[in-house]
Symmetry: C2
Subunit: 422 residues, 2 copies
């Protein structure tokens, strides 16, 4: 180490990484340690302005061991998945030199130097919104920058994959495919970008964060149980998904919303079907999720062509992808009609993210929600019921960009003097 | 017709037919008109003392046309399915003579004579407890007796099948297999008895009738949609079910409860999985159904061997099959702990059927339900929540006998003088 022992220099990097939502689902591993999936998957990256992880990483000879803080609390890095990522990154680290600061780190030094990692999600972690995907992707991306790793995003995606499978898809913006790969060592199980976020920028995304008291099955143990016990998962992975991947790539390429919506909805439903086909069965959707699907299906049928696609991950939250801004406005009106906020909720915290959609929908205060008329496609009494409190809040967003380095030092989460969280 | 025109004789028959619950499910037709399924199914016949249809049929030269009354209200017989059953039965009718009453009907007469059918379920029709299965089976069985049809139960099952698919399984007691058959005309798509109700009389069945405000998809249109849109149903019907049928027959033969439970639960879940894999998806189970499954799964796991199997048909009601009376008693305590009645419900109408199980469970009044301790397998706070009002009522029953003719004239639903409902 060129920096002399006792020297207190600290080198930091801060990055921001988006979450992603799969429209062709990943469910089931063929290798638990390397996190190799049993089928390809395709995702849409969500705008980091509304949903992202920011991570600052620091290295210093003064650090006694690797440490990490998530959302203000120190968390253990001892898990095999963190360790795999750190080992992979260190083995790819390159020489680094900052003459001004008098810092010189050789490739070999990285094996001995310890890092501090400080991570923060701009959305509630408990909401089940793929926080681990964004988090692991951001950890890998920021450490790769810090350690001067020269590999491209695809190679980094294979490292992030070992931290959390779907994290590999968060290394790109827009539309991303995780190729399952064939190699036993997982070297070809990587993410690639199908199209960037500008390719199909009509799309608008509304997320309904659904209230739930049920304790959910973790996706790690859930997908293991499915692979071991479902009589349908193999058929899904080998026969159904490969065709859907081809069709979905084509739908994205052609911006063919009806095909996109049909595939996304069918694949979300099939993912939950194989969960139900697991023993013991896994339920991620609840009655509110079902009501949201019914609302969307009824409206799509009424319109004669799909206005909105829905997809649900390992939880009850609905991710609703509208084919344009007009459809998103009409969707938000419907959602607020069926799922008004509790009386003590304020509108500003009930619809977050891109609030201009709320204004387009003519909703300026809570009274405007109460005054909403039943959607024209509802004819029967049962479907005009309103379900106050079933949804915690809505997030309005859109497809977004991939990871970026934040050069503005004020956005660092690490105190440059101490190397600890600010 | 030997009976002279203007003569007012009336000939009646009354029969009672059980409902049945499939433990390997029927879902999907290969022929909509003949009601031919895409896979075999296996059911347990439920004790008619607690769940059955009673049907009286009458024939008289005085009747101007075929008429039917169900639960006190006249219903139309014009549907194709009723007409198919009536036509099939008339074509198999035989000569009948009652010298005492001076009635003589030749095979040919039956084509011109009209019938009155009066049917009554001893359980709420709206509860979604296979009322059409028992109803159609009873209609066919009673008319076959009236018309002196000499075919055996298997042949009758093929006629009942054309009224309502699962009705064919209600022509036998105990354990019944509906063989899908291969013939285009459906002649080999019949029900056969695997074992009678005495073969495995340890089993005790508790049905939880679950409150629901959702309008359910009819099974006829639901299974049509599944066959047309599910990417998994063909694999289920062709690859999964045939193996399960063999295993389930063996489990029943050997009274092997662990295998029986595993197969019944897996197949119920898979049926609901293919419903979810339908576009638009079909949800029959709701949050309460999910809670009941969790309760049973948790208890089974805690005991180390299955105490109870669950199965759900096209609705949210749970049919819970306990491996013996002891297990049923412990199950009922658990169900009443998690799903106590509303304060204004009386115990006598909250647990119906075989009430001796309630007594064995030490429940004599509502206070005893309130005083129930959380089951030992519940450790976390979330799983000790009680859900008042989620279940409408429970029915305690057991496997039961097949159809019988009721010779006691007082049990006839038809006035022998007028030929109309009593």
């Amino acid at each position: 180490m060129a920096a002399e022992s006792g020297e207190k220099w600290i080198l930091t990097v801060t990055a921001q990484t988006p979450t992603n939502i799969a429209v062709i689902k990943y469910w089931g591993k063929r290798d638990e340690d390397l996190i190799l999936p049993i089928n390809d998957s395709i995702s849409v990256t969500l705008d980091p302005d509304h949903l992202c992880t920011t991570t600052s990483v620091a290295v210093s000879p003064a650090f006694s061991h690797d440490r990490m803080w998530l959302n203000g609390k120190e968390v253990s890095l001892s898990g095999g998945r963190f360790q795999n990522c750190l080992r992979e990154l260190r083995s790819r680290a390159s020489d680094f030199e900052d003459e001004k600061k008098g810092i010189k780190i050789t490739k070999k030094d990285w094996e001995k130097l310890n890092v501090h990692i400080v991570s923060y999600n701009n959305f509630p972690t408990a909401a089940g919104l793929a926080s681990s995907a964004a988090g692991l992707a951001c950890l890998v991306f920021s450490l790769a920058k810090l350690m001067n790793v020269k590999e491209d995003h695809s190679k980094l995606s294979a490292i992030a994959r070992q931290g959390s499978g779907s994290a590999c898809r968060s290394l790109y913006g827009g539309f991303v495919k995780w190729i399952m790969g064939k190699e036993e060592n997982g070297s070809d199980s990587i993410a690639v970008q199908l199209a960037d976020e500008k390719h199909w920028d009509d799309l608008v995304i509304i997320i309904a964060v659904v209230s739930s008291r049920q304790k959910e099955t973790s996706s790690t143990s859930g997908m293991r149980d499915t692979v071991e016990t479902s009589a349908l998962i193999k058929h899904r992975a080998q026969e159904v998904v490969p065709k859907r991947i081809v069709e979905m790539e084509e739908a994205i390429q052609k911006r063919d919303f009806p095909s996109f919506a049909r595939l996304a909805c069918s694949d979300s439903n099939q993912f939950h079907a194989v969960c139900l086909d697991t023993l013991p069965p896994i339920f991620y959707m609840n009655d509110t999720s079902h009501k949201i699907i019914s609302c969307v299906e009824k409206w799509n049928r009424h319109e004669g062509s799909p206005q909105v696609a829905y997809t649900f991950d390992a939880g009850p939250n609905a991710v609703l992808i509208s084919h344009n801004r007009k459809a998103a406005t009409l969707l938000l009106q419907r959602l607020l009609y069926y799922f008004p906020p509790q009386s003590d909720t304020d509108l500003d915290s009930y619809v977050i993210g891109d609030k201009t959609i709320l204004k387009d929908a003519g909703i300026h205060e809570l009274k405007d929600i109460e005054a909403l008329a039943p959607p024209p496609e509802t004819k029967e009494n049962t479907s005009t019921q309103r379900h106050k409190g079933d949804v915690s809040y809505f997030i309005c967003t859109r497809p977004g960009r991939g990871p970026i380095v934040l050069t503005d030092e004020s956005r660092s989460l690490i105190n440059p003097e101490t190397g600890f969280p600010k």
